[in-house]
């Protein structure tokens, strides 16, 4: 895990955990999931994590397929898509396996 300490900035100057250790972090942490790490100085780091459903792991474990999907998403973000005509005529194709 890479930790970029130089990029940290204060979000709250003084916040107090309650008797059960709960802190309210506000919008910056809304609906996010974290791994929680602590060091010898008592500093706590919240490392965002994303849960990937097991049935989707194949993509994340396959660099070529993942890169293809990510390129497609990037191209979509850049508005590079185009219409290639209708494919409806292929819907009834009989194909032998």
């Amino acid at each position: 895990m890479n930790i970029h300490f130089q990029d940290f900035r204060p979000v709250k100057e003084d916040t107090h955990a309650d008797s059960r250790g709960r802190l309210t972090l506000g919008q910056i942490a809304k609906d996010k999931k974290y791994r929680v790490l602590v060091n010898d100085a008592g500093q706590v780091l919240l490392d965002p994590v994303v849960s990937i459903p097991e049935r989707e792991l194949w993509l994340w474990n396959n660099p070529e397929a993942l890169a293809s999907v990510q390129r497609g998403l990037q191209q979509a973000a850049e508005g590079k898509g185009r219409y290639l005509g209708s494919f409806a005529q292929y819907a009834d194709l009989e194909i032998e396996d």
Partner: protein, 96 residues
């Protein structure tokens, strides 16, 4: 209601590659795209959410199967939009 398919260059290049290398697979992909155009929820597509991906504007991404009963079936990744009646085809890729 039929949709219009908008292909990203990544997906288009896969179609072009299949035209040169695997006409049988190309036909299967074309059939899948035809079914997607007609009805993205056609049972043979086995369309389902792909929760670990989102579109550029937080669109829900879907995965549809090119082949049935094939362990290494090719997949089509897509989302609804941009705009009504349009599906964006992100990528067409083999499952390893």
């Amino acid at each position: 209601m039929p949709s219009q398919l908008e292909f990203q260059p990544e997906a288009e290049s896969t179609l072009e590659l299949l035209k040169k290398t695997d006409l049988k697979k190309l036909k299967k992909v074309q059939k899948t795209l035809g079914l997607l155009e007609r009805n993205p929820r056609h049972p043979s597509l086995q369309t389902h959410d792909f929760d670990s991906l989102t579109g550029p504007n937080k669109e829900k991404v879907f995965e549809s199967y090119v082949e049935n009963n094939t362990p290494a079936a090719w997949r089509v990744f897509w989302y609804y939009g941009p705009g009504a009646g349009v599906l964006t085809i992100i990528a067409i890729t083999p499952h390893p």
